[in-house]
């Protein structure tokens, strides 16, 4: 217990080399967060430009070619560079081992390697911008992708490389959850964030290899004309869509499952109430992970796939609504009779419940075969997946960043500004995307550069909304950066949460996370147990020598003798 409390993961070695070659999951997580935020900034600026262009019919600020490129790059950046790694690789990396009471992920070197693979992939994707034009959307459907300019090669190579990064991260996390749990942390005591990251990791490991082989086949088709996808050579373009969506539909769950985990943490913590139906919430993540593999064909209802598979895929799509509904129901009942405190992260959780539910319900709608044929490739779809991806994943990510900001940086942000920004995000987001539901149902096709004058009012609303949303996001960036300079010093457990990263790690965690191996004797949200079980934790650790009720410390060095 003699270790110096002032040593933390940020100050124990400040050299650049110690960051670039770090094997510390916390530093890797922060580097991911930085990279993801930069990509989000770039993709977001593109989104603002796209919305500005659509303010009036015809040309507003850019020509049709620039427009096609803008929405393609926006989509590729947001999907592959931002949303897929966002929560698992950034927040997951940082907090999964902490919540498990582990000193690191199972394979720290692999973790660093996977970060550099991600960076390499991202750079390759971005170099496509310099090499030439990419258009045609993020799905690279064959045969178009086999015939357009060479810059598509950079995008597909980048996706291939980032796919490996995603696989390795997922593999690492699965093994970490299985093998690195601290004594007493049984499966039914795992925080729900861990469950969701674990389910995500299953999807990452099982789905991503298929996009890998798809990209390889696309390459071979382009260079050797092997004739698998290109109808002119005797291939089948719908087969490409199967390959693509076998990955890309489960990839949607790579994006949204970790968001579920964050929301569970937020609602449990800020309602000071045991998350009701813990087992159901936990297992519904796993259920979604597996069901997510059975529904990819609902992206292909109008592709010419067989009617029987359309019907099967449509039916299976409804099933996804069950575990998702179980989650939303349990979140709401957790708040019932809870003692809710409306801190900024909780506001994001409430926004999530609203926006994600709209996204989810509209998802069931477009899963209906007959309705989808009408709505396919309209703004209704655009609105639906933005409500899920932005109203779900990004909102949860923002909530998670606010929630864990004190643990990551040791500083508190300005709570008032936080709340104002959250409300502005909510208003801006809905103003941007709700009109798109209406436009879409009236027949405004997605990805179009120009539109009929009757859609202009809705497009205007949407563009004004994007300005509010953009301003709110820049505001968040501003006060978060300011908190690094003059933010209040954070206590080790500002929210009174019960998971290990709050109760057992210092305000800024030690390089090896814990000074003593935590021993877990209760569930992650057992707020109903005697108050002393969590409130007697002075600075969040047994490092002062006293044995905390419900929390025991093993040997100082934390390495029990080998059996």
């Amino acid at each position: 217990m003699a270790q110096d409390e002032t040593i933390n993961y940020l100050n124990h070695d400040r050299s650049l080399k110690s960051w670039l070659l770090t094997k510390d999951h916390k530093r890797i997580g922060l580097m991911y967060l930085g990279a993801v935020s930069l990509a989000f900034l770039a993709g977001g600026i593109l989104a603002l430009l796209i919305r500005l262009e659509l303010l009036t019919p015809g040309e507003t600020i850019m020509g049709p070619d620039a427009y096609n490129q803008s929405f393609t790059i926006h989509a590729v950046l947001m999907v592959f560079v931002v949303l897929i790694p966002a929560i698992p690789a950034a927040l997951g990396n940082f907090f999964l081992p902490l919540q498990l009471g582990a000193r690191d992920v199972a394979f720290p070197r692999l973790n660093l390697f996977s970060f550099y693979l991600y960076l390499t992939g991202a750079v390759i994707v971005l170099s496509a911008l310099i090499v030439g034009r990419i258009d045609g959307g993020w799905t690279f459907y064959a045969p178009y992708s086999e015939r357009v300019g060479d810059s598509i090669l950079f995008v597909t190579t980048g996706v291939f490389v980032m796919g490996f990064s995603s696989i390795l991260t997922g593999l690492n996390f699965i093994v970490t959850v299985h093998k690195m749990r601290t004594p007493g942390l049984t499966w039914n005591r795992l925080p729900l964030f861990v469950w969701s990251i674990y389910s995500t990791a299953i999807v990452q490991v099982l789905a991503t290899p298929v996009i890998g082989i798809t990209m390889v086949l696309l390459f071979l088709e382009r260079f050797l004309s092997i004739g698998i996808f290109d109808p002119a050579l005797g291939g089948d373009p719908v087969l490409f869509q199967h390959f693509f969506w076998f990955y890309s539909h489960p990839a949607v769950y790579i994006m949204i499952l970790p968001a579920f985990g964050i929301i569970s943490e937020l609602i449990g913590t800020f309602s000071r109430h045991r998350v009701s139906g813990y087992t159901f919430v936990a297992l519904s993540s796993v259920a979604i992970a597996f069901l997510g593999f059975l529904v990819w064909g609902h992206h292909m209802f109008v592709s010419g796939q067989s009617a029987v598979s359309s019907v099967v895929f449509s039916l299976l799509t409804y099933l996804i609504g069950i575990p998702t509904g179980v989650k939303v129901l349990n979140w709401v009942t957790t708040m019932y009779r809870g003692s809710i405190s409306f801190k900024t992260p909780m506001i994001y959780a409430l926004i999530f419940l609203f926006t994600f539910s709209i996204g989810g319900f509209s998802g069931v709608m477009v899963g209906v075969l007959g309705i989808d044929i009408h709505l396919h490739d309209t703004y209704f779809i655009v609105a639906h997946f933005h409500y899920v991806m932005m109203g779900g994943t990004v909102i949860a990510m923002l909530g998670g960043i606010h929630y864990w900001w004190p643990k990551m940086t040791g500083r508190m942000y300005n709570e008032t500004l936080g709340k104002i920004a959250a409300i502005l995000v909510f208003i801006g987001f809905n103003l941007t995307f709700f009109p798109q539901f209406i436009m879409g149902s009236r027949g405004m096709p997605r990805r179009y550069y120009d539109y009929l004058p009757e859609f202009q009012f809705m497009h205007e609303l949407s563009t004004y909304g994007s300005w509010i949303l953009g301003a709110a996001l820049f505001m968040i960036l501003g006060y978060m950066m300011a908190s690094l300079i003059n933010g209040k010093k954070a206590p080790s457990n500002p929210w009174g949460a019960l998971t290990l990263e709050w109760t057992h790690a210092a305000a800024l965690p030690h390089p090896h996370n814990f000074l003593a191996t935590p021993i877990v004797v209760r569930g992650p949200y057992d707020y109903h147990l005697a108050r002393e079980m969590f409130e007697l934790v002075p600075s969040g650790d047994g490092q002062h020598g006293e044995v905390i009720p419900g929390v025991e410390a093993s040997e100082p060095d934390g390495r029990p003798e080998e059996a």
Partner: protein, 117 residues
Amino acid sequence: MSHAEHHIVPIKTLTAVILTLGMLTILTVAASQMDLGSFNVPVAMCIAGIKASLVIAIFMGLRYDNGTNALILAIGLVLAFVFLVFVLLDTNFRGDTSATQSGTIMETEQLAPAQTR
């Protein structure tokens, strides 16, 4: 933490497996030389499946390993199977809409014109 000692597969078992694998290879070649009609493919796949199971169970030691690794493999195989079956559900039933309905919509509607009014 430490549980059962690592199982050491005896050389006798390993040798028996490789001999069986060799024999099965000869069998599958022999079976392919005969005309089994529609059974050609299932027989070949069955033999390949037995060979692969032997390699997995004994050479890779999954039989002696903990159940989690077996579960991982099983999930992977199930997913690969799902991939195959669902793609075939499309590719082998293409154009089934036109097969179930002869004639254009106009023609079929003329068969029951009164019901729509």
